[in-house]
Symmetry: C2
Subunit: 254 residues, 2 copies
DNA sequence: TCAGGTGATTTACATTATGGCAACAGTTAT
DNA sequence: ATAACTGTTGCCATAATGTAAATCACCTGA
């Protein structure tokens, strides 16, 4: 769910992290570039850069600041806490094979889904070389809707408050009441479907994945272009495969 | 080399990052645990935690703070800047195969070597399940010494000042003068060897890897236990394999 | 069910640290 | 030499930290 932070927040840390993010997103920035992107003084930016350099989160080459390789290692380490192993890959790949469509497993965090492993994900780029999205909304993805249907209404509301219901495709549900109606219907099943709500021509079916304590860890989903698989087949044939895969995954998560 | 930061450093950011690191290293911490590890007030720690939560660097479950999966994704993204791809794996695996020993490629950063890819690295653990080290000193590793030999003397000195010359095995060079003598010898060759300087019974040969601009990116090394490969064979047979591998890698780094 | 812990956050306010601004020192390209 | 850009320094207004004490959220035994 959304972490409902009520206490004090530290602007210094926020500013440092924003600078770090900008450098990461732009694959390296100079002081001048940062100065034009960040609303704070040059000297202040320098202080942040000095701090991040000294902490080895950044590296500087020829006046350009880059995120360090050490950050990559820290991230790798952070990943150890999450289901990753061969299990996830095996289950997702098997689901993709069984349905002959793309499958993926996402982690549920802060009211969004973060891509953990996709059957065709290779170096985060698809066949066209465009970068895969790594963050998804819940309201317009199959696994996301299935997760929302399991949450308490106030939790859903806080997620809507935080992330909104942005339209990303023709069929995206952008109205809270409509969403709650949809969730009520889903609640009786163990899965949810999307019909061109995420991207045009794309349909998918998804379900939540729980850990040993029953907490929602993430979501598993599978789907493809409408000319390859229609809605009937999606629910008739894919639902079982999906739920089997969920079970395999959950039993592996102790 | 070491980033020689002279300007102002921000304690707020440093404190936030220290808390983040502690949580990462301990795989989750409570406020009480952090309070006992960090020299700052509980209320202040809360402010840091609030900030890191809101920035989605942390996640909280049942009073325990964990590093978020999003951090893992950020790290993955940071890694894209570095040679990773199949090229590194191919070259390292080929070097390991040709010598029948363990090979690895490390990134040179902030005066240390960070593990990028090792031929037998699997999930960061070795056969015994113990976690692999991901950071290495330069003075007691083969690739590290080869890199030091290419640097200017003042750069080497600043690295020694920063990291020292900690003894990690019987043969570790812990005296600066001895190290400089060793580096002078290495300078005439394109590689360096370690003889039980890193770990008992372990010998290895390593060399620097440069990018298209001639900057040192990291190091490639290969070696194994002394009962499998002696020093003579290391320099006679492995040196060529190593230098070939370095060349392959460098030509792939444009 | 209720009083009494226990630990997690938040508050209030004095003490320090940081942010913005502007001047200046160093480097590099023109 | 000039211009352009990077990074540092000094000075106040603003923000963060330390301390102690007040809330809050749970849990537990009577």
């Amino acid at each position: 769910m959304i972490e409902n932070v009520t206490g004090r927040r530290l602007k210094t840390t926020q500013a440092s992290l924003e600078i770090l993010s900008l450098i990461l997103e732009h694959d390296g920035l100079t002081l001048a570039e940062l100065d034009s992107m960040v609303d704070s003084s040059k000297s202040s930016i320098c202080s942040h850069l000095n701090t991040l350099l000294e902490s080895r989160y950044l590296v500087k080459h020829d006046g350009v600041y880059h995120v360090s390789f050490r950050v990559a290692l820290l991230g790798e380490r952070a990943r150890h806490r999450y289901p990753n192993d061969e299990v996830v890959e095996r289950v997702v790949d098997e689901l993709a094979r069984a349905t002959d469509q793309e499958a993926n497993f996402t982690i549920f965090e802060h009211g969004r889904l973060l891509m953990c492993y996709g059957s065709s994900t290779e170096e985060g780029r698809d066949a066209n070389g465009t970068r895969y999205r790594s963050e998804y909304h819940l309201h317009n993805t199959a696994a996301g809707k299935a997760i929302l249907a399991e949450l308490d209404r106030d939790e859903v509301e806080s997620i809507i408050d935080y992330w909104g219901l942005p339209r990303e495709s023709e069929g995206t549900i952008t109205n809270p009441d409509q969403l709650f109606d949809a969730l009520d219907e889903i609640a009786t099943k163990k899965y949810a479907v999307v019909d061109e709500e995420f991207a045009p021509n794309l349909i998918a079916i998804g379900a939540p994945v729980h850990d040993g304590d029953g907490r929602i860890v993430g979501g598993l989903s599978v789907g493809g272009p409408k000319y390859q698989v229609d809605m009937t087949r999606l629910e008739r044939e894919f639902a079982d495969e999906l739920l089997n895969a969920v079970e395999s995954l959950e039993s592996a998560l102790t």
